[in-house]
Amino acid sequence: MPLLEVNDVHAYYGNIHALKGVSLTVEKGEIVTLIGGNGAGKTTTLRTITGLMKPRDGHVIFDNEDVSKYPAHAWVSRGIAMVPEGRGVFAKLSVEENLELGAFHRNDKENIKDDIEKSYEMFPRLGERRTQLAGTMSGGEQQMLAVTRALMSKPRLLLMDEPSMGLAPVLVDVIFEAIERINQEGMTVLLVEQNAHMALQIANRGYVLQTGQIVLTDKADVLQKDPTVQKAYLGIE
């Protein structure tokens, strides 16, 4: 049984048919990447998986349970966390408050403190800035915060929407290394990326999304060698 199963999901913005029957699965322990061009529907797919958007048709099944019946804010306590597009840190709150909000649904106060310290160990830059307002940090630091904040909810599935966006190459490496490390510790990851090159390197499997439809799926190393993928997403002629 896959941990996550997106089953023939249709989603609309008004009359715009953004997802035209998207199906995908993520097995426990995998890194799966979803690649595609601008406007393909990657963010929309993640929004339906987190409940921020209700699909008009189709199902999102997480851990054998149709999560569509829960209100969006209840999904995180089911075990789904997301690092949203553009990071979505709370700019006027301190780093530490952002992390505390990541643990909003948890009641184990003592462990929350420990987990915050672990976040600082993972990214010492955050530890040095714990009282700083998140909005005053650099893009890379905000991305580190967004990742650790998502982990604070103790998810079983981590969704990430273009974590490399707008970052200098060095920082992209830092973030991708962190994703690999989190995965090795047992986290299941669904990674949306335009940086298909990097994403396919760390992923087990990949899906290619085009105008609201999955057009291709395979093992990551196979996709890397696929001529259409190379041409469209890896910039290889």
Binding site: H73, F90, L101
Partner: protein, 352 residues
């Protein structure tokens, strides 16, 4: 260099004009000696009554600013939450208690009952308004809830007029707020001191709530980014309701404090304080909690000190009746020159 256009010119003339009026008025007052001759203790009286009035504005303004913070909407019915609490607690609790002689025998207990009933009523009215009138419009264009709020405001005014009539209601006299009290050889109105102290305590409590509690943090998160807040597991609608409850509680407290000071109320009593508090919230930068508190205090003080300080000197008769003019001039000036408020926050939100 920026092109010097004629709107700038008009704005500058406007500024110079205002400064001119103020200076001219103060010259008239202090050098030419126009108007009454006030002693230091008179000025102190103006200041303290301004501070007391300003505390009321601040308490109401906090509700405006918090709701604006989470919904980006000016809740024009907020003044009615204040009125509803004051009227209901007076008619259903204060006056019956007075008639039964309880106000005289147990003034503090009676007062407690009045505060509780006022807060409960304000909260009830606020929650109903939010549920019925605002929530269905959550995704409508911004103008729609604004117009609805004005409609809700009229609805509550005439609803309470229907309930309690349109004549002025007297608020009972409480011995502990009657007369003056001396500090450091100076006399202060007890009622003013009570209002100032109560407001300070309430505002301190609010500050602690917003900064230190989990719910307070949720309110700030929702104010910033509703989707991200939802991803954290925060129930956005519930948080918005809590924000209304907190704002309405403060309006309810302000309603009773207003009743203690002015001792006369009716169904339109929420209108002017509501607009003044809105002015205060804008002065402090709408959306900012400390801004609303400071804006309220500032507005109360300038209203009290402005007329004797620079209107009397212009030879304006009955200048103290012009405090509303001062308040609304301030509103217009701030909207023209500093729409982000006098102490409006300008956090550099980095995009990269």
């Amino acid at each position: 260099m920026r092109r010097f256009n004629y709107i700038d010119l008009v704005l500058w003339l406007f500024r110079i004009g205002i400064i001119g009026v103020v200076l001219w008025g103060m010259t008239g007052k202090f050098i030419l000696g126009i108007g009454n001759d006030y002693t230091i203790s008179d000025w102190l009286d103006f200041f303290v009554s301004g501070l007391s009035q300003g505390s009321l504005y601040a308490l109401i303004a906090l509700g405006y600013t918090m709701v604006y913070g989470v919904l980006f909407m000016i809740n024009f019915a907020h003044g009615e939450f204040f009125m509803a609490g004051a009227m209901t607690s007076t008619v259903l609790v204060a006056l019956p208690l007075e008639n039964a002689g309880y106000v005289e025998r147990f003034p503090w207990l009676s007062l407690l009952a009045i505060f509780l009933s006022a807060v409960l009523t304000s909260v009830l009215v606020a929650v109903l308004t939010e549920r019925i009138a605002y929530r269905p419009l959550r995704n409508a264009p911004r103008l729609v809830p604004l117009i609805t709020a004005i409609g809700a405001s009229f609805f509550w005014q005439y609803y309470f007029r229907g309930l309690f009539g349109s004549s002025l209601l007297p608020f009972p006299e409480f011995p502990m707020f009657d007369g003056k009290i001396a500090f450091w050889g100076l006399d202060f109105q007890k009622a003013d001191i009570a209002v100032i102290l109560t407001s300070l305590v309430v505002m301190f409590g609010l500050q602690q709530f917003v900064q230190r509690t989990k719910t307070g943090r949720a309110i700030r998160a929702v104010a910033e980014n509703k989707d991200a807040a939802t991803l954290m597991g925060i129930d956005v609608n519930r948080t918005i309701t809590i924000t209304f409850i907190v704002g309405a509680s403060m309006a309810g407290v302000a309603g009773v404090l207003y009743s203690i000071v002015f001792r006369q109320l009716n169904f339109v009593m929420g209108f002017i304080p509501g607009i003044k508090a809105f002015t205060a919230a804008v002065l402090g930068g709408i959306g900012s909690i400390p801004g609303a508190a400071l804006g309220g205090l500032f507005l109360g003080i300038i209203e009290a000190i402005g007329p004797p300080l620079f209107l009397e000197g212009l030879g304006v008769a009955g200048s103290h009746q012009l405090k509303d003019v001062i308040a609304f001039t301030m509103l217009v000036l701030v909207l023209i020159f500093r729409p982000q408020g006098i102490i409006g926050e300008r956090l550099a939100e980095k995009k990269a």
